[in-house]
Structure formats: structure tokens, C-alpha cells
């Protein structure tokens, strides 16, 4: 019942009429340049700091050490509240140490720089669906920040606000906004940019004992060329297919089909997985979640289709409902 209420509320909020309707003026090149700066800043600056992530009633503090050298980016994040957790990242490779369960979760990302390079100028498409503007400067963690406001032009997406250090372009605060209400945010509460950082700080606390730990490799990805046999035939305006792929997920013998869509800022993923024979069919509907993420499941033919994205519930529902088996050309 509780979950029902929660879902109903999510839907209700998604169905309410939006207030935006700003004139679809061109976003200023200056603002777009700041956005680009955000993207490249972590590859140019070293920093250590403490940040807070909050979503709904959940608040969590973490410490971050970020070093950039000839070999790329190195990063350690320690979660300071609740169960101890440590995340080590070296470029695209991430390892998360969960000492309580003696587990290491690893993930290798394959996209990274390649995507933006291919995508060329998504900033143009960005301003088709968001009005991008600059707010008055604000001070975050003792740094003067420019404030970038991304206001959705329709109710198929959330609003975003970014606080960007004027000098380095580092993102010091970010918030996701649903009709004036912050549904998720992250903010640095203490930050030191530049200066010498002891590399020892990057060392994981637990790695020496990994012999007795269990390792879970979360995402092993294989890509097959184009023909997935599935397509999204009626996505909300602005959402375009970025890629389609098959991926092997943990504990699955059959690869799962994955279609990724984006509106230039946020992404929505559609996963299609054949149902196992004999298992009860999944129930169609929104899956409980919170923050900006919404998840929607339905059954199509013999497959379960799950749509995931940082978009309002109505958007994942529309995308999920427009997934069809593709009969070939």
C-alpha cells in the first residue's frame, strides 16, 4: 500500500502541468562554453574535498581525492556515513570496496571520451529541449560559482541547476528540479583545488586483504552490430537513440538487449530480456525508486522490457510503452 501511494504520487507530480514555457530563445554561447568547461575540468585539476549527496530524506557525506597525471584520472571516494565504502577509480576502471560484506564490485566503462567526440555538438540539441541560462553568481564552499539553469521546455524532463567554479570549471553543486522542488542534489561542503596532494591518499584501505574477498564484475559488455530486433517507435519529443547493444549482465546466460536514448542531457535506457520459461510473468508498472530515477516494466511478447532514466514517470512510461519488436527491413 505504501508503495502504491508513493507511485501514485510520483505519477501525480509527473502529470501536473508545467510552468516553464520560456520563449525558445537561443542559449547563449557563453553559457554553452561553461558547460563544456565542466566536462573538461576534472581532467585538468587536482582536488580534495568533502561532498554531500542528498535525495529525498537520504543524506550522505563522502570524501574525494582526485589526481590527474600523465596516466589519466585517479580518484578515491570514501563514504563517511553509514556502512563504510570506498570507491577507487583509475580512468575507466572502477572498484568499490564493501568491507562489511567483503565484496569488491568492479566496473569498466567503455564510453567515456569517445562519445562526446563522436557526438560533436550536442549542445545545440540541448537548447532545443532546455532553456539554458545563467543565474546570478553564488558562493559554494568558499568558491565563487556561476550558476547554470537548464529549464525544461516541456514536461517530459526535469530541470537542472549547476554551480560551476568560475576559475576551474569544476562542478561544485548540482540539483535536479521537478517543478520548483529539488528532488536530488549534490554539493561540496569543503574543497581544495590544486596544490600538492599526497598520492598515498589514493591507495585503497582494503586492497591488501582482497584475497578473501569476493569480486563481482558488474558489467561485461559485448556489442553486436545494429540489428537488435527491437525499437522504440514513439519516444517523447527530443529523445533520440544513441546506441543499441547487447550486454552480458551478472548471472545471466542470455545477453540483454539495451537501447540508450538521450535528449542531449539526460539518458533513458531500455532493457529487453527474454522471460525464462516457467517463471511468473512480471507485473507491468512503475518500479519503486526515488530521486530523479524512474523505472518502468512491462511485458512484450516473451520478453520483459524495463525502461530506466532520470526523467519523470510519464516519460519512462511513454518510452516503455512504445517499445516494439522490429520485424526487419
Amino acid at each position: 500500500m505504501i508503495r502504491f501511494v508513493q507511485i501514485a504520487l510520483l505519477i501525480l507530480s509527473g502529470a501536473a502541468q508545467p510552468l516553464f514555457a520560456q520563449s525558445p530563445a537561443e542559449s547563449s554561447p557563453e553559457v554553452l562554453a561553461i558547460l563544456q568547461k565542466i566536462a573538461s575540468a576534472p581532467r585538468q585539476h587536482n582536488y580534495t574535498g568533502t561532498f554531500i549527496y542528498s535525495s529525498g530524506s537520504h543524506i550522505e557525506t563522502s570524501r574525494i581525492i582526485h589526481i590527474q597525471d600523465q596516466e589519466g584520472e585517479h580518484e578515491k571516494i570514501e563514504v563517511l556515513d553509514g556502512a563504510p565504502r570506498e570507491i577507487i577509480r583509475n580512468n575507466d576502471e572502477m572498484s568499490c570496496y564493501l568491507p562489511e560484506s567483503k565484496t569488491i564490485v568492479t566496473e569498466k566503462r567503455w564510453l567515456r571520451k569517445s562519445f562526446p567526440a563522436i557526438l560533436s555538438e550536442p549542445l545545440n540539441t540541448l537548447s532545443e529541449h532546455y532553456s539554458v541560462s545563467k543565474g546570478p553568481p553564488e558562493r559554494i564552499s568558499d568558491y565563487d560559482c556561476e550558476v547554470i539553469i537548464l529549464e525544461p521546455r516541456d514536461d517530459m524532463r526535469y530541470g537542472h541547476r549547476l554551480w560551476v567554479d568560475i576559475h576551474t570549471g569544476l562542478l561544485l553543486k548540482a540539483a535536479v528540479i521537478d517543478k520548483g522542488r529539488v528532488i536530488e542534489q549534490f554539493i561540496f561542503t569543503q574543497l581544495k583545488i590544486g596544490g600538492s596532494i599526497d598520492r598515498e591518499l589514493l591507495r585503497p584501505k582494503y586492497s591488501a586483504k582482497t584475497g578473501e574477498w569476493r569480486t563481482i564484475n558488474l558489467v561485461s559488455t559485448t556489442i553486436e552490430s545494429g540489428k537488435l530486433g527491437w525499437q522504440v517507435n514513439n519516444p517523447p519529443v527530443g529523445f533520440k537513440k544513441m546506441a543499441e547493444m547487447k550486454r552480458t549482465l551478472s548471472g545471466k546466460s542470455i545477453p540483454v538487449s539495451h537501447i540508450a536514448l538521450s535528449d542531449g542531457l539526460v539518458a533513458v535506457s531500455v532493457f529487453i530480456e527474454p522471460l525464462e520459461k516457467g517463471s511468473p510473468p512480471p507485473v507491468q508498472g512503475l518500479v519503486p525508486s526515488y530521486g530523479a530515477i524512474n523505472i518502468y516494466t512491462r511485458t512484450v511478447a516473451d520478453s520483459m522490457v524495463t525502461t530506466v532514466g532520470e526523467v519523470p514517470p510519464s516519460t519512462v512510461i511513454q518510452i516503455g510503452n512504445s517499445v516494439v519488436k522490429y520485424k526487419g527491413k
Binding site: S13, D81, R85, L98, L119, A174, K240, P288, V308, P313
Partner: protein, 177 residues
């Protein structure tokens, strides 16, 4: 190595490095996959969004470089981009959030209660929502989905990948669940 491949695609690699990379790509299956992945993305972009200006420009750029083994000039990189790079730079943050929630054994109730306190009365608004996916995707599955999704996700909202509270808790066998 991957970073070199992407650097090459970005046209950021010196020419002497390029030829050695190409040789390595030819010889290594993994790298071949990597390489084709990048191009698959490019291909799907061209196919799926040919109506928009940006895609046309990308296609033009690609068409003028038929082999794609030739790195693009750095001039074209000046529009190097926001969305997915931000994703990369924030990914670890997302991971933190996700890990955080999965280890918060007793929090689902807290969360739900608070959620209710914050919200107005329930409404049977949209029929699709009224059946809540209860037995639907097994918990571990959702986590995998979220993580797989995360790498495409460009917004700060992706720390929201974290938020799949209930399944996360179950799938990692937290003592409270």
C-alpha cells in the same frame, strides 16, 4: 589503451602513435571490439537522427573520412562536449550513492514514510501505475540495469542511479532484509 583509442578518435594522438595503435587494434580481439563499439555508436547516430543538423554535420565529417582510421583534426574537437563527459566526471559520485543505498539495510521504511510525509494525498492518476511491479524484475537485475544505464547518463541526476533502494538492499543480502 582504451584511452589511447578514444584519443585517437578525437584526433589527439601523435601520428607515430596512431600507427602503432592501429596495429594493436588489428591484433587484439578486445581492442577490435572496442573499436567497433565506437563506430557502432557513430553509425547508430547517423541512422537515428539524420534529420537534425548536428547529425548531418557528424555524418559529413565521417563521410569525409571514410576509413575513420585517420584521426580527426583537433579543430573539430573544440566542441568537445558536455553531456557525457560530465557523466564520466561524476560517475564515481553516482557509484557512491548507489553503494550507499544498497548498504542502508533498514532504510526503505524510513524512506517511504518520509516520502509520504512530504507528499499530498494519493491519486489513482494513471492506470499504468496502479499495478506496481512487485515480482517484476528480480532485484539484482534492476541494479545491473541501473549500472548499465549509468554510463550513458549525463546529468547530476545520475547519482540517482543510487536510488534503487529496496532491490539494492535485497540483492546484496543485507542482514536487515
Amino acid at each position: 589503451m582504451k584511452s589511447k583509442i578514444s584519443a585517437m578518435m578525437d584526433g589527439e594522438l601523435k601520428s607515430e602513435d596512431v600507427s602503432s595503435i592501429i596495429t594493436q587494434i588489428k591484433e587484439t580481439g578486445d581492442l577490435k571490439n572496442e573499436w567497433s563499439t565506437y563506430h557502432l555508436i557513430g553509425d547508430s547516430l547517423r541512422r537515428s537522427s539524420s534529420s537534425i543538423d548536428i547529425a548531418r554535420r557528424v555524418s559529413t565529417a565521417l563521410a569525409t573520412e571514410p576509413t575513420l582510421l585517420a584521426p580527426r583534426t583537433t579543430k573539430q574537437n573544440k566542441f568537445k562536449v558536455f553531456a557525457l563527459s560530465v557523466a564520466a566526471s561524476l560517475a564515481a559520485v553516482a557509484m557512491v550513492g548507489w553503494m550507499g543505498l544498497q548498504s542502508m539495510g533498514h532504510s526503505p521504511e524510513n524512506f517511504t514514510n518520509n516520502k509520504i510525509a512530504l507528499q499530498p494525498e494519493p491519486s489513482p492518476a494513471i492506470p499504468a501505475s496502479s499495478s506496481i511491479a512487485d515480482p517484476a524484475p528480480a532485484p539484482a537485475q534492476i541494479n545491473d540495469y541501473l549500472l548499465a544505464h549509468r554510463q550513458f547518463s549525463a546529468t547530476p541526476a545520475m547519482y540517482g542511479v543510487a536510488p534503487y533502494l529496496r532491490t539494492s538492499v535485497e540483492s546484496r543480502g543485507s542482514p536487515d532484509r
